[in-house]
């Protein structure tokens, strides 16, 4: 099929001309016999893609995806627009302050890119279950929290059903901090997941508590002192609300007093806010570089126009790090899947059990499982500690459960249990209960 046949009349033609050239012509990485350009375009036209976060990265991602030919986009963000967002979150205007980010961003992009449908969800990702995430083919994250990343990662890994290839949703994760950033592609259960890569995130730099308590040298030390020591001691309000100006003012005054005492200058209200909320200045350029990398991966995965990050293979990279701190540096590498990853290390296997078994009987049955042969297993289910061999105190507390039946313990078909055993240092076995 010639690409000219795909160019429909109207102003749209020009806008999509180069994109369609990429999508409809067989490239160097394509098997020309199997290539069907029209199928690629049709597939992308009906594909549903989910964007998580409509902030600094999210605004860029939404704009890029819309301009990359994705027609059906959804976006989740629980936040509302703050005046401090306006310098880089370019889909928002002054009049939008206080409105939901997802909603405003969706409207703006829909208006500017004709033919794109964007569905906003003004809520938390945790408000949805697997059925919701099942409807998408690709998930792109522009998040600022590790907790949310771990949640969506565990959810997507848990959704993979070997019988149904559609249940494996590629997760493209972007992240920035100041001049540094990363873009990575996770193919849940096929390669390394976010939990496998948890140690790639440097925990926030902290100052020793004793420095804060005895010899502050910097204005930040005085603020941290007010935050972690003075607040707990005086408890001016029952719970610290980092968004309450009254609370920040209290901390600011305390920090100022302490700074005077030690002859330190530089404590200001905005510095107090920054230290307490752990604000790292966001750089618009970093966001756009990382969002571009993420959306490139989305386009490559959706259209197969070029090899993408994360493809399974011996040395195929899945992680691109970027640093703009000292000129520009990027490095792309393969992060290995961890065998003992608590999320993707072992897929939950189905375990046929009798609901009238006691927990003791269940635990004894693990000893004869061909793949595990667990001699001293500890067992937990979501929200419930069934039996722990260690530490001794917890063993004693959970021992009475051994005599109860699975039914009495409230275990139902489909409950996932996690089993650990000291003989298998670090490996967690997951089982899905199925009642025989």
């Amino acid at each position: 099929m010639s690409s000219a046949a795909l160019l429909r009349p109207g102003s749209d033609v020009k806008r999509w001309k180069y994109l369609d050239n990429v999508r409809t012509r067989p490239g160097a990485f394509i098997d020309p016999d199997e290539f069907d350009g029209q199928a690629v375009v049709d597939n992308m036209n009906q594909m549903k893609i989910l964007v998580i976060g409509a902030g600094g990265l999210g605004c860029e991602i939404l704009k890029n995806l819309a301009l990359s030919g994705f027609k059906n986009i959804s976006v989740i963000d629980m936040d509302t627009i703050d005046i401090s967002n306006l310098n880089r979150q370019f889909l928002f205007r002054h009049a939008d302050v206080g409105k939901f980010k997802a909603e405003v961003a969706a409207k703006f992009v829909e208006k500017r890119v004709k033919g794109v449908k964007i569905t906003p969800y003004n809520c938390k990702i945790q408000d949805f279950d697997e059925d919701f995430y099942q409807q998408f083919q690709i998930v792109v994250c522009g998040l600022d929290s590790i907790e949310a990343r771990r949640w969506i990662n565990a959810t997507l890994v848990g959704m993979v059903d070997d019988e149904n290839p559609d249940s494996m949703k590629p997760l493209i994760d972007g992240g920035t901090e100041g001049f540094k950033g990363q873009a990575r592609v996770i193919l849940p259960t096929m390669g390394s997941c976010i939990e496998c890569q948890l140690d790639m995130h440097a925990p926030r730099a902290a100052v020793p508590l004793c420095t804060l308590a005895s010899i502050p040298r910097q204005p930040e030390h005085c603020i941290e002192w007010a935050h972690v020591i003075a607040w707990d001691k005086e408890k001016p309000f029952p719970q610290l609300d980092k968004d309450d100006p009254e609370h920040i003012t209290w901390l600011y005054q305390k920090a100022l007093e302490r700074a005077r005492e030690f002859n330190i200058s530089g404590v200001t209200y905005s510095l107090t806010q920054g230290v307490v909320k752990n604000i790292i200045p966001a750089i618009a350029a970093t966001n756009s570089v990382i969002a571009a990398a993420c959306c490139n991966e989305a386009l490559k995965i959706a259209s197969s126009c070029a090899p993408f990050l994360g493809s399974p293979g011996e040395a195929e990279p899945n992680y691109m790090m970027y640093s703009g701190n000292d000129s520009i540096y990027t490095y792309t590498f393969k992060h290995e899947k961890k065998d003992d990853c608590p999320v993707c290390g072992s897929k939950a296997k189905t375990l046929k059990v009798n609901p009238r078994w006691t927990l003791q009987e269940l635990i004894e049955s693990f000893a004869t499982l061909p793949e595990a042969q667990l001699k001293k297993p500890s067992v937990r289910a979501e929200g419930k500690t069934l039996y722990m061999q260690f530490p001794p105190g917890l063993e004693e507390q959970t021992r009475p459960n051994l005599g109860k039946t699975l039914e009495e313990l409230g275990l139902t078909a489909g409950t996932e249990i996690a089993v650990t055993d000291p003989a298998f240092m670090g490996v967690t076995f997951n089982f899905n209960l199925s009642f025989a």
Binding site: N43, M47, E130, I138, I146, E147, R150, A154, G158, D161, D162, P165, D166, M168, M190, L198, D199, H201, P203, A205, A206, V207, P208, L209, C210, A213, S214, V228, I229, D232, K233, I301, S303, S311, P342, A348, K349, T350, S378, R380, A381, T385, M388, P391, P392, G393, L394, Q397, T398, G414, T415, E416, A418, T420, P422, G426, T428, N430, N432, S434
Partner: protein
Amino acid sequence: MLKIWSMKKEQQKAENAAGAESGGKKKKVTAAQLRVQKDLSELSLGSTMKTEFPDPDDILNFILYIEPDEGMYKGGKFSFTFNITPNFPHEPPKVQCREKIYHPNIDLEGKVCLNILREDWKPVLNLNAVIVGLQFLFLEPNASDPLNKEAAEDLRSNREGFKRNVRTAMSGGTVKGQTYERVVSQ
């Protein structure tokens, strides 16, 4: 897109297809809980430490009891609350001493100055590293990282006097105007 799915199929064929089926709605155990379960089963408490879980179903919150069998704090019984956030092990556990004690690295509110609980925490560390660290604080109180400045000064300038003050404080006495909690068993 279609390409990944066929690759997934191939990868599966290569692995064994054991236990493929999964039924019903899954109730997930969170990643932090999994990691804590793992850490707990690797805990070596010895004879001087004990844990207590106010709610055994909530393994993210527990109390650790330490009864040092040597050093200046021998004979005392100290307890620490462990509060583990859903961000564990990205974030360290929050640990606080429940008794008011006389110690250079623990303040009167129970805050603990231990490097791996703050600035030197890494996700590769585990709960065992933390409890070893706490135990060490009782064996070797450290005057150069003071949280209770007076106690640190005391330890630095007059080790024998500091020892006596620790004994006084542990039996519920008053040291430098502060009355401490009795932590020795009758």
